[in-house]
Amino acid sequence: MADTMQFDLVSPERKLTSVQAREVRIPGADGDLTAMPGHAPMITTLRPGILTVISAEGSTEYAVTGGFAEITGDSVSVLAERGLPTTEMTQEVYTSMVVEAKRHHESAREEAGEEAVEAAAKLLADMVAMGTHIGLDPHQASL
């Protein structure tokens, strides 16, 4: 079996990366998972979090929000609504993302049902966790 697989990270606006990877850690909606070559085919939605790609050149981390990952035995494609390398993730960008999540949470509380509020709250919590991981301060985002 090949020991690498094709990995693509695509955002709506452009293709972010396309490399041969040994291992990809994906923040799935139901929990993190690691895809390696020969993984059973699956499709999972993403929660906001850190996606780690380990290739021959080392490992790269990306912050991704929203979207899904398609895993087949020899390739992984991640379609993220927003994705950027953690090194390019600034406090400014992060703050705006948290503000948006907060606003979403607020509006869900006002209009939608309990389920939507829970989903929005989870989204916000995931967002905060992601920021803490990179070392950014989620509390700068005041509504």
Partner: protein
């Protein structure tokens, strides 16, 4: 017969018009390249998204738990038309062809006794549609401040449409835009986005494990798919607009050139005629002595 001075002024003004159209053509060419690159870059995402959603949809379709975005409301009464045009003019028939297609659809729907609601994207389409169908226009999206169309813009439009759908404001949504074929040909296209339709055979999706469930993923992806389709349409439209403007300005530049040639001939002829008249006057004057 205009005087020599008039003709000279006329030639001068056509010359400066030609300079302007020439400049606009070159600007459009540069913008077209950028717009095409953006459309190109967005393609992988849209294609994969479409393939996955189509695969999921075909396996979920018909079952009880199919999301409303896929199954529809069960009615076919109220149609929402999202008409995407440009913010600026001077791009030939670009806006007119979209509006003509939308207009045909509106008339067809009205004749069939359906209710029509219109959302316009871009100033030019609103101006044209407001005249005849002002009472149906329910919303307008202004993109005149937007320099480069981003996914955020599409998401904003999609959010608006989805909110209206969830509030049961319409049953079927269709977007109208120009698909970019080449610089000289843009194809006005109507595409139904809600309920979702997929053409072509979807790949067998039983291959995959799904996490969470198929329905869960589909419920998450369908709204994104709507946004993606709108984003693609916006990008195609932007590229088409620049293409249309480029060829319109190319035509204008050529026409201005032809006009300058014609005017120059008229100018030279009348100058010649004036000289001849003067000569005849001098000669006859000399002969009379």
């Amino acid at each position: 017969m205009p005087s020599l001075k008039d003709l000279k002024n006329r030639i001068g003004s056509v010359k400066s018009t030609r300079k302007i159209t020439k400049a606009m053509q070159m600007v459009a060419a540069a913008k077209l390249r950028r717009a095409q690159e953006a459309a190109e870059a967005a393609r992988p995402y849209a294609e994969r998204m479409n393939a996955v959603v189509a695969g999921l949809a075909s396996s979920v379709a018909g079952s009880e738990g199919a999301p409303r975005l896929l199954a529809g409301t069960g009615a076919d009464k109220v149609h929402l038309l999202v008409v995407m045009t440009s913010e600026r003019g001077l791009c030939g028939g670009f806006n007119t062809v979209i509006v003509r297609l939308a207009r045909a659809k509106i008339n067809e729907l009205l004749a069939a006794g359906k209710t029509v609601k219109i959302i316009t994207v871009g100033k030019k389409g609103r101006e044209q549609l407001k005249r005849d169908y002002g009472q149906y226009v329910v919303g307008h999206v202004d993109l005149s401040e937007v320099k480069r169309i981003g996914y955020d813009n599409a998401q904003g439009i999609a959010r608006d449409i989805l909110a209206r759908f969830n509030a049961n404001e319409f049953d079927v949504a269709t977007i109208f835009y120009n698909r970019f074929q080449s610089v000289i040909s843009q194809i006005p296209t109507a595409q139904q986005v809600i309920p979702a339709v997929f053409d072509g055979g979807a790949e067998a999706s039983s291959l995959y494990d799904y996490e969470p469930s198929e329905e869960g993923i589909l419920a998450d992806l369908l709204p994104r798919s709507v946004a993606t389709q709108i984003f693609t349409a916006l990008l195609e439209n932007a590229a088409s607009e620049q293409g249309a403007r480029m060829s319109a300005m190319d035509n204008a530049t050529r026409n201005a050139g032809d006009m300058i040639n014609k005017l120059t001939i008229v100018y030279n002829r009348s100058r010649q005629a004036a000289i001849t008249t003067e000569l005849i006057e001098i000669i006859s004057g000399a002969e009379a002595l």
